[in-house]
């Protein structure tokens, strides 16, 4: 099927060209990554596992509400977990909604495991796996270069290795790191991404080395799930207030799977602090909201749903219709179906931009 502005039958002119900016490809088996790793790390992983800052081996700290760590109940292939089977992913997502492109967000332990050498090996293996299993067989799928930002030299080497391969459209790092995103230890990575003309995609992450709230660990998944947005907010604050966008003017970041209605209030609040404590922020030359407006893109899922859907139009106006990019989060339970994501009618140009145009410009697709 195809989407049209008002649900009319598909015609060449009315077809909505969709880019899904958040698809989670999965391993068919727990050992699927091993062949992509050097022998040394195959053995290590098998013996010690990917050691992560969380209490359990191979299980999420906050159990999700559906099997497979919170998957859509209808997304299970005949064997393996959801989104591990290309044919089902094509059928259920790319073909079902007649998508032009889908951007892969490979979640995994690589960027967060304690052992930095293992981290680099796992990230590189994950990138090879994206090509072999997804991007080469299905050119509509584009990869994200997974790196571990805690090891800048290894991260830069990985970016440089992949930069010329247009199967990859961005660099991916988790928004939860050992230090705030704007600190100088990470600048060389951002410079490498900017040099390669690749945006940095930051996707909400279930693991991190610090508590998931400033007041201690949450108890419930419903809390954790909301807290994902906080990590993204801190990325914005830190990168703006440390002057990262002043230093690297062509750096672009994409905030993925955190919603977006919080972004305008955050930008306003940053402006206020900048006006009042500018002496503390010598590297911030302009109002923070200007950097946000120029350098930050956001994906739509999980889209905020005001009781009065019209109110979302205010938020879109504040964020900027040219900075929002549609995403489904397939195959997770809170998948946003493009037919029902917006409960308000978007102006035609806005709809075109959000559902695909913005992503195509940013990621240089087509």
């Amino acid at each position: 099927m195809s989407l049209t502005l008002e649900g009319r039958p598909k015609t060449q002119r009315s077809r909505l060209r969709i880019v899904d900016c958040d698809i989670h490809p999965a391993f068919s088996t727990r050992t699927e990554l091993l062949p992509f790793l050097p022998e040394k790390w195959r053995t290590y992983l098998t013996t010690y596992g990917a050691r992560l800052p969380e209490p359990f081996v191979g299980a999420l700290p906050y159990p999700r509400m559906t099997p497979g760590n919170g998957m859509r109940m209808d997304s299970w292939p005949e064997s393996g977990p959801p989104a591990s089977d290309l044919m089902l992913l094509q059928k259920q997502l790319l073909d079902e909604y007649d998508m032009d492109y889908g951007i892969l967000q490979a979640l995994g332990a690589g960027p967060t495991t304690f052992n930095l050498d293992l981290a680099a090996a796992m990230c590189s293996a994950t990138n090879d796996w994206q090509l072999a299993k997804w991007c080469h067989p299905e050119p509509r799928l584009k990869g994200s270069i997974q790196i571990c930002q805690e090891d800048a030299p290894a991260a830069i080497a990985e970016i440089e290795k992949r930069a010329a391969d247009r199967n990859f459209v961005q660099v991916a790092i988790p928004p939860r790191a050992i230090e705030p995103a704007g600190r100088r230890r990470y600048w060389p990575i951002y410079e490498a991404a900017a040099t390669a003309n690749l945006p940095i995609g930051l996707h909400s992450a279930a693991y991190g080395s610090h508590t998931n709230s400033s007041t201690g660990w949450y108890s419930y998944y419903i809390e954790e799930h909301h807290g994902f947005a906080h990590a993204l907010q801190s990325v914005v604050s830190s990168m703006v207030m440390e002057g990262v966008f002043e230093r690297i003017p062509n750096l672009k970041i994409v905030l993925i799977e955190g919603g977006f209605a919080w972004l305008p209030p955050l930008a306003w609040r940053l402006d206020k602090q900048w006006e009042r404590m500018r002496d503390e922020l010598p590297d911030v030359k302009r109002p923070p909201s200007e950097y946000v407006r120029e350098h930050v893109w956001v994906t739509t899922q999980p889209i905020e749903e005001p009781e009065d859907p019209q109110e979302l139009l205010d938020v879109i106006r504040w964020v900027g219709a040219d900075r929002l990019m549609f995403s489904t989060d397939y195959p997770h339970w809170d998948f946003d179906d493009p037919r029902y994501t917006f409960k308000v009618t978007l102006p035609g140009e806005t709809q075109t931009a959000i559902f695909g145009g913005n992503a195509k410009s940013l990621y240089r697709l087509d």
Partner: protein, 355 residues
């Protein structure tokens, strides 16, 4: 401040800050053992890292103290109570006792601070009301402190900081809520951190500006915890007042939490109403600071979906506005009237009783 601001005369200001008491202030309220301890262990200045005394945030230029000046009731009257024509102002003392690690020191400092507030501030000016400050290290003794002071109706709420050791929804804190609800005392959550944990999920930001910009995260975490753990279900008449939290981030939290709840409410079956509804019912919010361009404020108030949540506050002496511009610009007229008096009276039953 020069001009008399007549348009808000009679308002109730829910967030003003007295001095943080020094040791010399507290000694009269301590027994011999604690007097000796305070001297021997050199416990004296306990200003919060969240509010460095000389930072622009911490005091507006014309409300700043000159050397030798004291932030006493007379100065507060001259700076805000008189010129704004306030009917009441609620003292929220940012005491070190709120966050000290040792439960005995915390309990003792809070108790002495509350007694000092009663004697040195509440007795000095009949317009003043105050929050009971409590150490949360031992919630049982915190509840006892609420009980101890409940007879004094000039104490109108219980206060803690936005970032502590554990999320505030946890059942360990419920004895405090039980006591507060019984005595008609809302719980105030004031901006600030005890720095028990990194203030972001990626560690500590470099600057106070960034730290302060992130305060809404702490508030949001507390709200989400209070909802998820079932505090509002267990204590149906208890209200939480957000002080110096900012306002404009609240609608996005309401929308997000109501949606999440529709998806995963089986995890928290005791949450029977949509979180946005619970927030409108149980949360009240001080209007300073309000971070938004004035032209957009009316839209944000629409998004909030309630004209009962906002409460007037100057946040004296913290610096959010200049001159007499205490009311954020762009608020609809009807809301302005409600938030100056009516909403505060509805939030604080003890204000009505003592007016």
């Amino acid at each position: 401040m020069d001009a008399v601001v007549s348009n808000i005369a009679g308002a109730i200001d829910v967030d003003v800050h007295p001095a943080v008491p020094r040791r010399a202030d507290l000694l009269p309220f301590l027994d011999d053992v604690w007097r000796e301890t305070m001297l021997a262990r050199d416990i004296d200045v306990l200003d919060l890292t969240s509010y460095p005394p000389n930072a622009p945030l911490s005091a507006r230029p014309d409300w700043r103290l000159a050397p030798g000046e004291a932030r006493d009731p007379q100065r507060m009257a001259r700076d805000v109570l008189d010129p704004f024509g306030l009917r009441h102002a609620i003292l929220n003392c940012l005491s070190g006792g709120l966050v000290v690690y040792n439960e005995h020191i915390g309990t003792t400092l809070c108790r002495a601070t509350n007694d000092w507030i009663a004697k040195s501030w509440l007795d000095a000016d009949p317009r003043l009301r105050a929050s009971i400050v409590v150490s949360l290290v031992n919630p049982e003794t915190a509840a006892e402190e609420v009980e101890r002071l409940a007879h004094d109706k000039r104490f109108v709420q219980v206060m803690t900081l936005a970032a502590g050791e554990l999320p505030l929804g946890r059942k360990v804190f419920w004895p405090i809520y039980r006591a507060a609800e019984r005595h008609g005392l809302p719980i105030a959550i004031h901006a600030g951190s005890g720095y028990r944990h990194a203030t972001t999920q990626s560690g500590y930001p470099s600057t106070l500006a960034e730290d302060y910009a992130g305060q809404p995260q702490s508030f949001a975490s507390q709200i989400v915890s209070l909802i998820a753990e079932g505090v509002f279900a267990k204590f149906p008449t208890l209200r939480f007042v957000l002080l110096e939290s900012g306002v404009t981030w609240l609608p996005s939290l309401m929308w997000r939490m109501s949606k999440d709840w529709r998806g995963v409410r089986t995890e928290v079956p005791w949450v029977k109403q949509p979180p946005a509804w619970l927030m409108r019912e149980h949360l009240r919010v001080a209007c300073q600071p309000l971070d938004a361009p004035p032209d957009e404020v009316a839209r944000i108030v629409e998004h909030l979906g309630s004209d009962e949540m906002l409460l007037f506050a100057t946040d004296y002496p913290h610096w959010h506005f200049d001159g007499g511009d205490a009311l954020p610009r762009g608020l609809p007229d009807g809301l302005r009237r409600k938030m100056l008096v009516e909403n505060a009276l509805a939030t604080y039953p003890r204000l009505e009783a003592t007016t």
